[in-house]
Symmetry: C3
Subunit: 281 residues, 3 copies
């Protein structure tokens, strides 16, 4: 991962306009049972930025869901316009290194649990899904996205950040290598139609309820598939990215911490945050 | 590979309805020369279930064909409705472990020989090609499939079985990883049109003769290609799956034998076989 | 790599008809600055055959361009009908082994520099691009090709040659494995429309100026992307083929030298060259 002098300049382009979800004093992740299917709703106002607390809540929620042996799990958002805005930049700005390390290893942990989840997973993408938001969606086995002005993609380079190798692996597991290279280098945010065409999502939906309905239909396909065979098959075909993560996990964490301690990075983050504040006014 | 309690329940869904080929007392594999092209016809009545005998006959036939240095080889079936129904379940039910090991290593051997065949290979898929039938077709370099109600796919999970890693490798060599994951986990049997769209087959044909004709046209493309360069190129691009097989071969066999010795598997197979018998009546 | 007895017979089929560029006494590679973008023009008359001199000039030019930290680089040809005809067969006929080794390692070096170039690269393919010409184009990040009777592809097998593993890796990075296998074994030269459909090129262009314009548009996408993040992302997703080259480089060179010392190869080359001379008259 690397900073960029121009980071602040691009802030307005990178962040999609979005309406915040209602502020919530409750837990950051809600899990509801819907006829044997667990619906996990991210609800960290305003845009499900992935900070340590949300990631810890997700990690625990994934364990809890797994214990209940559901027919499947649907991941969605409480925000009316954002699925998840990706990593919370405040975890990177003037970081306490102990917390920063915990932040990163928890992010890795959430991905390992979600990408390798024993039960069927589907993302009901009811809003923008840039960067880490796109990663969460891609880690599921199926994606239904609400049509509209929303976008999805790994746009890290636009922020001067290099998507970690396992973000890349996850994208290459989903779309063609050629399309992934173009998307990653150009920081492409796909419209819903573009995402469908390239295979980044599987279906479009008219609204959140429709997206959840389509995810349910996907999960219902497994009603007649013996679960153990299904799980082993999923883990076998996902073995490459999961094994790669095991190999690189420590180095990946060290690289993140080194990145944070680069003065240029901190300077760029400061400019970026100021631009966000200016934008908010 | 793993069993499933629900196995028997799904039997009727998994096995396509099919008319048997005429019973034959002759050899299980017929090889005929057609203008320098070897046409290998599987003819183990009724549905070319791959048992030890058929696999041994195929293994020997592949060697014999190779000795004649043909311009290419076409794989097809004597059955009017089934290319091959896949592995013969009777090789797995109450097995003699020595025979079971021979069965599995011969299956591996047939794949190694067919996937890495020196000469051009094409499958004239004149009927259903589930599971092991699909594997044989995918191991060839070209696939023409007769239009109709036939289906093709690695539907192992529907039977509670996990497709071995090399089945998976073979599918990922043929279609996109994303499509392979969806197909494998959902035990998808593709219609001919669906198979064409996803790239699992290359052409449709009106009948068996047409399928064989299209396979011949493919093989004739190599008339002007120096054979040694062609072979080396094929083996280079197929090196990944072939090398992977070398690495996992022994473990893969042990896994299969352990699978067979699982009481739950045997129980599931018994229920499955009884359901087939009931269906036959 | 392997020779073929039929090599000479195929000569007329393999080499596209082409008008030569004007003979030039100047340098073999021209580099011009076009608003911060380096335009590298291959100009070894008549058809940019890649001999040691042209490859050395390219290798040096790539270093020079990199020193200037351009916004990107466009690779094109001074010939009106040929982008590059690929390797110069005269480097392989009755070779001085020291020069032959230098020839091959320089070819590897040019690929390593171009495929892993820090700056954005695009190919304005203004004519035929068989074999090594296709390799150069595929090593760039973007390809715009002039519509017309031109063709592009790795057609090595037609000449009895096996495309090296890194040619194959480069193709598999660009198009689907399935399409690459078919293309490589059948020595397929794609028309411009076919190349577009399979993803071997990204855009068609009406003429050379239009192709260069489209390459510029691609490179301009990076105006707002921090360069370091862009470069690291590109190198990460290209890591597989680059690392593979490191592993095989020496063996690959030895294989090439052994190939050249095969009497059959030399005999085939001689026949081929004679057929070219006959054709020229």
């Amino acid at each position: 991962m690397f900073p960029l002098r121009q980071l602040a300049r691009h802030a307005t382009r990178v962040l999609p306009a979005c309406r915040p979800m209602s502020a919530s004093a409750g837990p950051m992740v809600d899990v509801a049972d819907d006829g044997g299917i667990a619906v996990m709703t991210l609800q960290r106002a305003p845009v499900n930025s992935l900070n340590l607390d949300l990631l810890q809540a997700m990690s625990k929620a994934l364990d809890d869901v797994a214990k209940n042996k559901p027919n499947g799990m649907i991941l969605t958002s409480a925000s009316p316009t954002v699925f998840s805005a990706g990593l919370d930049i405040m975890e990177m700005y003037k970081p306490d290194l102990k917390r920063a390390e915990q932040f990163w290893t928890t992010l890795q942990e959430v991905w390992i649990k979600l990408f390798g989840f024993k039960f069927a997973t589907a993302a009901a993408i009811n809003g923008h899904a840039p960067a880490g938001g796109c990663l969460l969606a891609m880690s599921c086995e199926y994606r239904a996205m609400v049509s509209g002005k929303y976008t999805i993609g790994l746009n890290e380079t636009a922020l001067g950040i290099v998507a970690p190798l396992w973000f890349m692996d996850t994208m290459c597991h989903t779309i063609r290598t050629r399309d992934a290279e173009l998307a990653l280098t150009t920081a492409r945010l796909f419209t819903v139609d573009e995402a469908l065409k390239v295979g980044l999502i599987d279906e479009t939906a008219s609204d959140k309820a429709d997206a959840i309905g389509k995810c349910k239909n996907f999960i219902k396909k497994f009603d007649r598939i013996p679960p153990l065979a299904r799980t082993m098959t999923k883990l076998n075909i996902r073995r490459g990215p999961l094994t790669h993560m095991q190999k690189i996990r420590q180095a990946d964490t060290q690289q993140f911490l080194a990145f944070l301690q680069n003065p240029q990075v901190q300077q760029a983050l400061e400019m970026y945050i100021q631009s966000l504040k200016a934008k908010a006014k």
